[in-house]
């Protein structure tokens, strides 16, 4: 894969991740040995069909999987949080591309083995997530302002106290309010002087921070939006709120799980533009999960194609789209109707995604693959590099000992 010098610039690397689910029919191998790196500041697209394990991979970064029935069967997700830039002490210089932060020399943490408290510190702060359906991901009983505030109360207590003009060592009910750790009776204390004034100052500072975060996503009139409930907003506007919430703490890694699937195409284009602009300005790394190939091609630097719990092809967007090596990638691309396709002549991939209950030792795509040979039924291909940064798990480029390799026209126009 990548050599050692590059490895230091990875924000996160997934190594042999295995997530299984216990079901009545047996153990489902939803993610079965996935390895990839997310480089600093890049957008990595993760594409594949329903049920190929892309969402599970994304969620395992934040340990948002139900365990049980989920089983973290092995592997590691190491994450290297950013530290302040050493050259400019956070002021913003050329070396850190004016962000004031850069990948630090800290030891990476393994997200799958750290304690729940540490995980909570990382969630929403260093790694944030945008979910598919903003209607379900936002709390319908809280106003936009209230749920946006939670992010700052949870992760930005010090900054909040500073903005409110309160000393950083403020203790008692006010601090507990600012750190979102209310205790019985705090509500009463904060209602009366002298704490009442401090509470009001905090609220002003908090509203200011929320307004700023919302303004980043180009919502019109953010101050008015704060008093609204999610159901009062359109789908596009809700997704903007989600993005504002995710980017509020300036995370190092953003996991976007099909953020535009529930939106109209015209709104989708705007939201993508927004994610792209914010990502480029802040140099956030993005893991973009989607089933839409044209969309991934538009916004991603690198693409990983997943099939049945495995990554079957990974490489730069240009490489993968100009010269797809895996028959599955080719099949997916051919299945999208385009201007030139004759009516009724779409190249469908035959069959369906196999059930992943105790999968046999063979290529997972065998049975649906048009280039299948006997080798594919007896051996399990692993991800092998074909050219700089482009790897494929198929015997086409790496025939096994039997030399019984399938063949196709390697270069597409």
């Amino acid at each position: 894969m990548l050599d050692a010098t590059q490895a230091s610039e990875n924000v996160a690397s997934v190594r042999d991740l295995k997530v299984h689910f216990q079901s009545k029919r047996g153990v489902v191998h939803a993610v079965d040995g996935v390895s990839f790196d997310i480089q600093d500041g890049e957008t990595l697209g993760l594409v594949g069909e329903t049920g190929c394990g892309k969402s599970v991979t994304g969620r395992s970064f934040l340990r948002l999987l139900p365990v049980p029935p989920g089983i973290l069967a092995g592997g590691a997700v190491s994450f290297r949080p950013h530290g302040p830039c050493t050259a400019c002490e956070g002021a913003g210089c050329e070396a850190c591309a004016k962000t004031g932060r850069r990948a630090s020399g800290d030891q990476p943490v393994d997200l799958l083995s750290i304690s729940l408290q540490d995980m909570r510190r990382i969630r929403g702060d260093r790694i944030a997530m945008i979910f598919q359906d903003p209607g379900k991901a936002l709390n319908p009983t809280l106003t936009i302002g209230a749920q946006m505030s939670e992010v700052f109360l949870q992760h930005r207590t010090a900054e909040l106290l500073d903005r409110a003009g309160l000393p950083p060592d403020t203790a008692g009910a006010v601090r507990r309010f600012a750190a979102q750790e209310p205790r019985f009776g705090d509500g009463l204390i904060l209602k009366f002087p002298p704490k009442r004034g401090q509470r009001a100052k905090l609220q002003v500072a908090l509203n200011q921070m929320v307004t700023e975060a919302l303004a980043e996503t180009q919502v019109p009139n953010p101050a008015k939006l704060m008093d609204r409930f999610p159901h009062e907003l359109s789908g596009g506007m809700r997704q903007r709120v989600m993005i504002a919430q995710a980017l509020a703490c300036n995370p190092d890694l953003l996991i976007a799980d099909e953020p535009t699937t529930a939106l109209d195409v015209t709104v989708e284009a705007r939201i993508l533009e927004l994610i792209r602009a914010l990502q480029q300005r802040r140099k956030t790394s993005v893991l973009y999960i989607s089933h839409d190939l044209s969309l991934v091609r538009r916004i991603c630097d690198r693409v990983a194609v997943m099939y049945a719990g495995r990554i079957v092809e990974i490489g730069t967007t240009e490489d993968v789209f100009a010269n797809p090596r895996h028959p599955y990638t080719r099949g997916l691309m051919a299945a999208v109707p385009t201007a030139g396709t004759a009516r009724g002549k779409l190249a469908a991939i035959r069959g369906t995604v196999p059930e992943l209950v105790d999968p046999p030792l063979e290529c997972r795509f065998a049975g649906r693959c048009p280039y299948e040979t006997a080798t594919c039924r007896q051996n399990d291909p692993s991800l092998q590099p074909v050219s700089g940064g482009h790897s494929v798990a198929c015997f086409i480029d790496h025939p096994t000992g039997s030399q019984d390799a399938p063949s196709f026209d390697r270069v597409t126009e």
């Binding site: 069909e49 009139n221 953010p222 359109s234 195409v265 538009r298 999208v336 009516r343």
Partner: protein, 422 residues
């Protein structure tokens, strides 16, 4: 309301004719559930479907395309206008059909729904689901029935082994195949397909689209293909009807619309989703600002003018546009205390302070409002804490015939639209 012109349809037999169909849903308010207004889901749509052709119906969510599909298949009654169906050579209005004729229409017009999970009864076996129409119409019974169902299942790529299973035992693509088998059971003449592939993966979508095409070629079926996916509709449809906010904004041959869209909305839809093999992917991708306006109070003139980037002063600017614009301006909407309308184009905006009123009259003269809206302004009078606004009154933009049997409802002509979008 005068009926809009229809696309020409002389070449082959008209199977179904939709003329000026309206579907309004009442908005009820208060303890007595008084009707306070109507959501105009479909507001005067006309087109024909000929035997054996596919008509694509596209638009954003909330534009009324699904409602229209349901009206066509007789699942809901139209508030106004009529749907005529060709029964033995004569066009009959579908909601006036009686007994035998009604049965004949219903067996000839079937529907496939978007969510195959919700549209198949989870407690019925595939045999019951697909065999039900045959039983209801006394087409087959007991022994014969099983054979007929197997035949249908084989046509959609399933088999005898699937007869005694429940819907939950199938994948999304297979369930959609069952829905199609059920729709085919009575050998219909037209099938209304309501987003049949939007819940499916691309590879499965390709299978279903191929299947639909094969069936059409075999049985000379007509399809009304309701979808929001332009690449699918380009692949499937002979003719295209583009809807926006309950109205048709463009109609015509699919190929010619894709070659040169005459309406800015069609153009925006196409620009938002480039092809996979488009080398310019990534550049020139434009979305639309704002949201679809409230269908209970559709904009005057052209309904798209609020989001149109090439809007002109004659597109129907009105008081609501000012209010909408105010909503997004910090520090102004809060001071608006009342709107007193004389008409859609003339109103008095009352503010709670003279300052705010002055600020508005300044802002409207400045660069911050759309230029077209500014030039459409006839009168702007500041009177204390009130601002009197009047716009040029404009009639609703009608669908007009263009070259090559096309229809479009835009005040600009196609060359101007093409030039402005460069």
């Amino acid at each position: 309301m005068n009926s809009a012109p229809k696309p020409e349809s002389a070449t082959s037999e008209v199977l179904l004719s939709i003329s000026d169909v309206q579907k309004y849903y009442p908005i009820r308010e208060g303890a007595l559930q008084r009707v306070a207004g109507h959501v105009r889901a479909v507001d005067g749509v006309s087109f024909d479907i000929r035997r054996g052709e596919t008509v694509g119906l596209v638009g954003e969510s909330g534009c009324g395309k699904t409602t229209l599909g349901r009206v066509v298949s007789g699942l809901t009654d139209a508030t106004g206008g009529a749907v005529h169906y060709n029964l033995d050579g004569t066009l009959s209005q579908i909601d006036h059909l009686q007994d035998l004729q009604a049965r004949q229409f219903r067996r000839n017009c079937q529907m496939v729904f978007q969510d195959s999970f919700a549209s198949l009864n989870p407690r019925h076996l595939v045999l019951d689901i697909v065999g039900r129409p045959l039983r209801v119409y006394n087409e087959a019974s007991s022994g014969d029935l099983v054979e007929r169902v197997v035949e249908l299942l084989e046509q959609v790529g399933l088999g005898r082994q699937h007869l005694y299973r429940y819907p939950h035992q199938f994948s999304g693509g297979q369930r959609q195949r069952i829905s199609i088998a059920r729709a085919l059971a009575l050998n219909p003449e037209i099938i209304v397909l309501d987003e049949p592939t939007s819940a499916l993966d691309v590879s499965v979508q390709a299978q279903i689209l191929n299947l639909l095409n094969d069936l059409q070629a075999e049985r000379n079926l007509a399809y009304l293909f309701v979808t929001h996916d332009l690449s699918v509709v380009r692949h499937m449809a002979d003719r295209l009807v583009v809807m926006y906010l309950g109205k048709v904004c463009e109609a015509g041959e699919t190929q010619s619309i894709f070659a040169a869209p005459h309406h800015p909305y069609t153009r925006a839809l196409m620009a938002a989703k480039p092809d996979l093999d488009d080398d310019r992917a990534g550049e020139n991708v434009k979305g639309l600002d704002g949201i679809v306006p409230d269908p209970a109070r559709p904009p005057q003139g052209c309904r798209f003018h609020t989001r149109c980037e090439m809007a002109t002063p004659v597109c129907g600017w009105e008081v609501d546009d000012v209010v909408r614009w105010l909503e997004d301006e910090p520090g102004m909407f809060e001071h608006l205390s009342g709107v007193e309308r004389q008409s859609e184009f003339n109103a008095e905006l009352a503010f709670d302070s003279e300052e705010a009123a002055a600020k508005l009259s300044m802002a409207i003269r400045s660069e911050s409002v759309p230029a077209a809206m500014k030039s459409a302004l006839k009168r702007l009078k500041l009177d204390g804490h009130k601002v009197d606004i009047e716009f040029e009154a404009v009639d609703e933009v009608q669908l007009t015939a263009r070259d090559g049997g096309r229809l479009a409802s835009c005040v600009l002509d196609p060359d101007e639209v093409a030039a402005k979008s460069q």
